[in-house]
């Protein structure tokens, strides 16, 4: 089984500060891979580098055998992503959002139509396909983003905190969608989360990052055995320590806060 994501000695510096400080890990094709770490560990930075949104300072990255910095467009065809913050167009309908994605990713019209119908039914939003997204709940938006993210048949599916803030029913549904996609279509899933119990139940392999470095990689059971703990959460705490990670609110967090208090739209 080959590695569909290869990261060797990845470095990303912002000025003098090394957000990523020599991280190395690999993801096998077809696996569900959990990427865990405390706040400020470098998770989001690494995902942005893997998904062509940020340039790295050093090290090697191969996504499906290609370097995201050199062959950005080819790499973009091979992954789909659900961001932590919604990236839908609220003024369009669910179906229109799907169409837009298909056009952006150059999916042939016939395939786009069939796949849109298939995916909207899969995430159980078919009966709301002509409703405006701005009327959707958070859970519905997340489900739509999952459907949209894989419209173009990508090999890898990146999910940044996919169940953040959702009720248990929706969370359950979302993980079931993802697990089934992984089983039926063989999509490699790369996710981050703070919900350790979910990660424990779903992931084949887990990498724990802290201070810009990978401190441990292995299956959930393996990690529990190494740290002699009974849950992934305890294993995580054992490896990363229990001290609070106080840090200054990032710009995104400040903006997100302001947005919550005074909705922009």
């Amino acid at each position: 089984m080959s590695n569909i994501i290869e990261v060797k000695n990845l470095v990303k510096k912002f000025g003098d500060f090394a957000a990523v400080d020599g991280a190395s890990f690999s993801v096998q094709q077809g696996k569900i891979f959990g990427f865990l770490g405390p706040n400020g560990a470098g998770k989001t930075t690494i995902i942005r580098i893997l998904t062509t949104l940020l340039k790295r300072t050093g090290g090697e990255v191969l996504i499906d055998g290609k370097d995201p910095q050199i062959e950005a467009n080819a790499v973009r065809h091979s992954f789909g992503i659900v961001f932590q913050d919604a990236s839908l167009d609220d003024e369009l309908t669910a179906k229109e959002n799907m169409d837009f994605h298909g056009i952006l990713f150059k999916v042939p019209k016939k395939i786009r139509r069939e796949r849109t119908d298939q995916l909207l039914k899969y995430v159980e939003l078919w009966d709301r396909k002509d409703d405006l997204v701005k009327n959707f709940s958070g859970g519905m938006k997340r489900r739509l983003e999952i459907a949209r993210g894989i419209l173009h048949h990508p090999k890898i599916f990146f999910l940044d905190e996919p169940t953040l803030g959702l009720d248990p029913q929706t969370r359950n549904h979302i993980w079931n969608y993802i697990k089934n996609l992984n089983k039926l279509e063989g999509i490699t899933v790369f996710f981050t989360t703070h919900y350790m119990d979910e990660a424990s139940r779903v992931a084949d392999e887990i990498a724990i990052i802290d201070n810009g470095k990978i401190i441990k990689q292995g299956g959930p059971e393996e990690l529990k055995k190494i740290t002699m703990t009974n849950s992934l959460e305890d294993a995580f705490l054992s490896l990363t320590g229990k001290t609070l990670r106080d840090e200054d609110a990032s710009l995104s967090e400040r903006m997100r806060d302001r947005f919550r208090r005074r909705p922009h739209r």
């Binding site: 949104l53 467009n73 065809h77 992503i81 913050d85 919604a86 839908l88 167009d89 952006l104 903006m255």
Partner: protein, 227 residues
């Protein structure tokens, strides 16, 4: 859209009828005729800059992220976004034009309406590109407030939209001459009312060159966005 029409209409009515008699007495003729092109330009640039600046929000919380991971050249995204914003700003300008007619404004010639429309579109394009360029570099919406107060307002007030440029003190006149909007306003006034300060040809040329430059700058800065 209705909300953003409020300010231009207010300016038109309040200033138009307020300063009208004084302007007339000073020998300038109808102030409404003089003012209307300036107010049309006002609605255009405020809409245009804002749609460019929306990128700051969109980048983190909105649809722009989706376009940044799509296998589409950044240039195409930027052009699409700029044209879209410019179209909205142009329509805004046209609506204000119609409203100005209701208040008493009369364009001087029907033939010149075509070039007038061109000026409207160029102003819209230039300032949407400017908004995009600024937004590509700013990370925080707070910076947007600064931009509004220290860039857009001066650009508007010193563009000859509200008062003639001919009798300004030398210092302010120089700034007005450096203001891209001055040429846009002058062009609009020239095609709608027949009284230009710089000459239509000059207006067109300078506006055209500046628009192209800003489009190039905007594309360059936009392509370097890292989400």
């Amino acid at each position: 859209m209705i909300g953003s029409l409020g300010q231009p209409i207010l300016f038109l009515i309040a200033l138009g009828f307020g300063f009208g008699p004084i302007y007339q007495k000073a020998g300038g003729g109808s102030y409404i005729q003089f003012l209307a092109p300036g107010i049309i330009a006002m609605s255009i640039i405020f809409t245009a800059i804002f749609s460019g600046i929306e990128i700051i929000w969109d980048r983190k919380f909105g649809f722009l992220k989706e376009t940044l991971v799509a296998p589409v050249p950044r240039l195409e995204i930027m052009i699409g976004r700029t044209l879209g914003g410019a179209t909205v700003a142009t329509i805004q300008g046209l609506i204000v034009f119609c409203l100005a007619m209701i208040v008493g404004f009369r364009p001087v010639s029907l033939i010149l309406l075509m070039p007038a429309f061109l000026f409207v579109f160029f102003i819209a394009l230039l300032f949407t590109a400017l908004g995009t360029a600024i937004a590509s570099v700013l990370e925080d919406m707070q910076g947007f407030q600064l931009i509004m107060n220290f860039l857009v307002m001066p650009l508007f007030f010193l563009s000859g939209a509200l008062f003639p440029l001919s009798s300004l003190p030398a210092g302010i006149k120089i700034i007005s001459y450096l203001d891209p909007l001055s040429y846009g306003v002058d062009g609009l006034r020239g095609t709608l009312v027949n009284g230009t300060h710089f000459g239509l040809g000059v207006d067109f040329l300078i506006l055209g060159i500046l628009t192209l430059l800003l489009l190039a700058l905007g594309s360059f800065l936009f392509s370097r966005i890292e989400a």
